[in-house]
């Protein structure tokens, strides 16, 4: 199986490739990609150099242009598509209907993947994107169980890629405005969720309070882990009950499900984390590469090694097991 690894910076790209990534995904340093954080991403020169480095080492590079172009400013996204093509990218990852149409019309030779931001959660929709825009691979939304993924693969020729490690969206991606409701910045429009520019930490008597846009999202007592205040992983109160009403501050770790995902017909395993450090990326990539190599050689999966890298130090298999719902 193919391991698809995050690279927020050229250093991470090199680290991922050296650690055994088959494929790296990254984005331009602007609002065209869904990890538009300060200090991250690639300018045009860095992208060309990064792709050359990866190709020299036998790895592929996918460029995520997966926000929804702003009305009146589509030229920024069109330029990103053209530059991806001329830099030698192996594919672009797109979510917007208009942008998919633009890419299919103007750069038909550039391979198109459907971003998780398009939330294509069933075979009908996936086949629609394939027949209409020539999409070759779909990144499945994190709302599906393994049997549902198998059912999708049975009904489509489109390759499927699934998230196996890292941050976990509880909501269908590309369909969520929680962040812009609280901060004015959204994944769809600005490429950021729960942006750091609107985060306020305050420590008082050992209690660390994290607010987003003024809303209290999380408070950690002395000695407790302090998750980043991502909206959907906050602690709230409803119906007289308090707690993590949407999702616990956990991150996805489907390492042990790799054999089942393989059996379900999945082509590629995706690791989240373009905002994490090069050293983190390298370690996660090494682990997953070892796991798929073991699978290919018929050896058992190595035991879980990645717990300490996870948010809140706890992992979940997310929607892959149906009970999550």
């Amino acid at each position: 199986m193919e391991i698809v690894c995050p690279a927020g910076t050229p250093a991470s790209l090199r680290a991922a490739v050296k650690a055994g990534a088959h494929t790296v995904y990254c984005g331009f340093a602007d609002e065209t990609n869904a990890r538009n954080f300060p200090g991250l991403n690639f300018d045009r020169t860095e992208m060309r150099e990064g792709i050359a480095f990866a190709h020299k080492h036998g790895a592929k590079v996918l460029i995520a242009i997966n926000t929804f172009p702003r009305a009146g400013a589509e030229a920024i996204w069109h330029a990103a598509i053209s530059d991806a093509a001329s830099s030698g990218a192996d594919a672009v990852i797109l979510a917007d209907l208009g942008l998919l149409d633009y890419a299919a019309q103007n750069h038909p030779e550039l391979r198109r993947h459907l971003s998780v931001q398009a939330a294509a959660a069933n075979a009908d929709m996936i086949n629609f994107y394939a027949s209409t825009f020539g999409v070759k691979r779909v990144v499945l939304p994190r709302v599906l169980s393994v049997p549902e993924i198998a059912a999708i693969n049975a009904e489509t020729e489109v390759e499927t890629e699934v998230f196996v490690f890292g941050g976990l969206c509880v909501m269908a991606e590309g369909r969520c405005s929680l962040s812009s409701y609280a901060t004015g910045k959204s994944p769809n429009m600005n490429g950021v969720c729960s942006p750091p520019s609107h985060v306020d930490y305050r420590e008082d008597a050992g209690v660390l309070e994290a607010r987003l846009g003024g809303y209290l999202i999380h408070s950690a007592a002395k000695g407790e882990a302090a998750p980043y205040p991502t909206l959907c992983k906050g602690a709230f109160t409803a119906g007289g009950k308090s707690g993590y009403l949407f999702e616990d501050p956990v991150s996805l770790n489907a390492e042990q499900l790799i054999p089942q995902l393989h059996k379900a017909g999945v082509t590629a395993l995706k690791i989240e984390g373009r905002q994490r450090s090069a050293s983190y990326v390298a370690q996660v990539v090494q682990n997953f590469r070892a796991a798929v190599d073991a699978l290919a050689e018929g050896r058992p999966m190595p035991a879980g090694m990645l717990a300490q890298l996870s948010e809140g130090q706890a992992g979940t298999t997310g929607a892959y097991r149906k009970i999550w719902r």
């Binding site: 208009g98 959660a121 929709m125 909501m171 369909r175 929680l178 409701y181 609280a182 929607a319 719902r325």
Partner: protein
Amino acid sequence: MKLTVGPNQFFWKADDWSAFYDDLAQAPVDHVSLGEVVCSKRLPFFQDRIPDAISALQAAGKTVALTSLALVTLKRERKMTAELAEMGVEVEVNDLTALAHLPDGMAFSVGPLVNVYNESTLRWLAGRGATRICLPPELPLESIATLAVAAREAGADVEVWGFGRVPLAISGRCYHARLHARPKDNCQFACEDDPDGLPVLTRDGQPFLAMNGVQTLSDSHACMALQAGALAQAGVTSLRLSPQTGDFGRVCTLFRGLLDGRLAGADVVAALHADNEEMRLSDGFVRGARGADWSGAVPA
């Protein structure tokens, strides 16, 4: 400008559902989209009431559309969605799965849960047969204005979320079931107890969101009463009002009065607050720093 009433987002008892649409037939609105948009498990409880509601609304001179689900994953949901095209009623696409089943060129509406953020997407949908497009609620006025121009050129109507709790997210997970520690497949319809959604507060007591099964809504009610003029000027052709309990006919009448120039925006706001002083309003997505902001707020 015209008034549209969107599909009820909540789970109501079938009799309440029917009574709502009986009343709505008398309300001064132009277009009604109905059906189940949030959770396919709710539909069996009221689907036999849908034909009568459609007849009553059409008899009262309103145009009617049937909505698709917002997130289609299960086999029976795909079947349901495929069958929508054969109902003989206009379809409101709220998930592109529905579009996959519509014959090319058949006229349809696009609901607020489809991502129409730019002219290319709007034109592409209009080319496929979209004649009415309700924009995503998070769009700012500048984008709305640009899209309204593109819509006029493409011959489509453009609609904006005008009143009601804003749909902010949809998930595979049911939060009502999670709150009651039940698996989704045995949810026992926990969401039925909250006909306007269950308020979600921050731990220090600030109202923030509302829970509605697999959907998450805003605590505040979006209200375009103070933006109607700007939206009309931008070329928006209709406002969407979202069903809720209470005297919804009065909400429709207030907005009709506003669009006809008989009521000022401030009058509508005052009347809404007179009916429900607890209700928080917002119009920040259209014109504010963030969605939760309210342009009518008195500066502290």
